[in-house]
């Protein structure tokens, strides 16, 4: 199934993505089956699916960390051939460099590109401010809470001025309160510095709260596109809104059918 709209330029195009993993030389694990997806510029798209539905693999393929067995990914018309800073990836397990401070982590991208110290410090400071971590520049990751660590992860990806931001279940390891807070922060950050975002989650509330469009995958391997939902609710959204709850009900019903 293909999703298209013609008002904004298309940023990401996934055509017929299929992925088969070969484990131990024998077992073939068919993870993705002919996924096609278009994402427009500055659109916030959430890929929703239960665990083991291939959604992380899809994100990694778009990021360039894996190559699809069939099909390809185009960003701004150019094929994705490997990992790179034009696609900012935020990992589920934070994956911060424990030996670097917050500033050291966020400035790593510009540092690898050879940006001079003063300039990259300024860039990093800007994004540290964007995610609300002013004053924590000299802290080490082990001194930060989970939510703060993930904010560093977001700033670190943003600091490279990527064309698209890819977030792989970024709040899965946080407690409910922090998670809710981080969802609000994500919406705020996106509103402040607009970017095309692809967000993977298994949480329906999170999806409805954040997305312009929700794309669901079937609940079993190989992952196939299931249903897509437009979320036209005004922001900031309320979890207790009638329209919110109706959509939640609709998605819950539909997804239970495929499990």
């Amino acid at each position: 199934m293909r999703e298209e709209r013609h008002s904004n330029p298309v940023k990401i195009v996934c055509e017929d993505i299929t992925k088969v993993f070969i484990q131990k030389g024998k077992q073939r694990v068919h993870v993705l089956d002919h996924i096609s997806l278009d994402v427009q510029e500055n659109e916030f798209v959430v890929i929703l699916g239960p665990g083991q539905s291939g959604k992380s693999t899809l994100l990694r393929i778009i990021a360039g960390l894996e190559t699809p067995t069939e099909g390809h990914v185009l960003i701004d018309g150019q094929e994705v051939e490997g990992p790179g800073p034009e696609r900012g990836l935020v990992f589920q397990g934070y994956m911060l460099f424990a030996w670097k401070t917050v500033m050291g982590n966020v400035e790593m991208g510009p540092k690898l590109r050879g940006v001079p110290k003063k300039e990259r410090r300024e860039i990093a400071a800007h994004y540290i401010h964007l995610v609300g971590l002013d004053g924590f520049e000299k802290h080490y990751p082990h001194q930060l809470s989970g939510g703060m660590k993930q904010r560093v992860g977001i700033a670190r990806a943003y600091a490279n001025n990527p064309k698209v931001m890819l977030l792989d279940e970024p709040f899965g390891q946080l407690d409910a309160q922090t998670r809710y807070f981080m969802e609000k922060e994500t919406a705020r950050i996106w509103e402040t510095e607009k970017r095309t975002i692809l967000f993977v989650t298994n949480n329906i509330d999170e999806a409805i709260y954040l997305a312009d469009r929700i794309v669901t995958l079937e609940g079993k391997l190989p992952g196939r596109m299931h249903v897509a939902y437009r979320v036209d609710l005004p922001r900031p959204r309320e979890h207790t809104d009638m329209a919110f709850l109706k959509l939640r009900h609709e998605i819950t019903e539909a997804s239970e059918l495929t499990l």
Partner: protein, 279 residues
Amino acid sequence: MVDIANEIKQQVQERRPLTPALILGNRWFLYAISMLAFFLVWDRAAVARVFSSGLPRPYEVVLQLWSMMFDPLAGKSLLGHVWASTQRILIGFTIASLVAVPLGLMMALNRYVNAIVKPLFDLLKPMPPLAWISIAILWFGIGETSKVFIIIIGTFVPCLLDAYNGVRLVEPELYDVIRMLGGKRRHEIIQVCFPAAFPAIFAGLQIALSIAWSCVLAAELVSARSGLGFIIIRGMNLSRPAMIVGGMVVIAIVAWGMSQLVSGLERLVCPWKREIDGR
């Protein structure tokens, strides 16, 4: 003036009274009691000749050490002997770690280096370093070289092993992170692999250091003219238990000191290591 007086009165009233229970519960007090008890038991056991004349009294040990500071034994003062042992350790340890740590890192990073070195290493690993003493003396004589050789043999294994494992235990997703940020292979190694492996390497160094001490001691017990092991052997030969125990005490102190130095170095190089509360 009245206010100040009231304030002081309040402070005095709020101070916890110095009861016996408070003193007895205080940690430092208990430490002191424990130490005092230890020395008391030791002294009594020495006087009671529990090991006939083999156990010196604590103050005899102190006297012995004090005299060795100024009266040379076999041409060296106490500090001279300390330096003799320390020097052997420093040389052997440095040589071994400078070779073993990079080798361990390369083994973990490069398949071919691994294929060549690992089988040899696995073959030699189980042999205790002290088993090499006799052959070392045969090859290098009874001088410095044989002792440094034993230390190298002993410290090589933990340094290499911990460097190797340090690299292998790095979270693989961190390499994904650096690649997503625009890093190439050399960045993967320098920016991720090495810093992530440092804590493990330092752990290896600490273990290697304590092994080095037992190696140098054993080598000196067998054949030496200087060093702390030599002091112990001399004490044996001259039937002076105070010298033996004195040597043991000095070894403990110096080994502890070197270990603290390595820990200090680790704190400098790895400031992100979470402090594990020793209490």
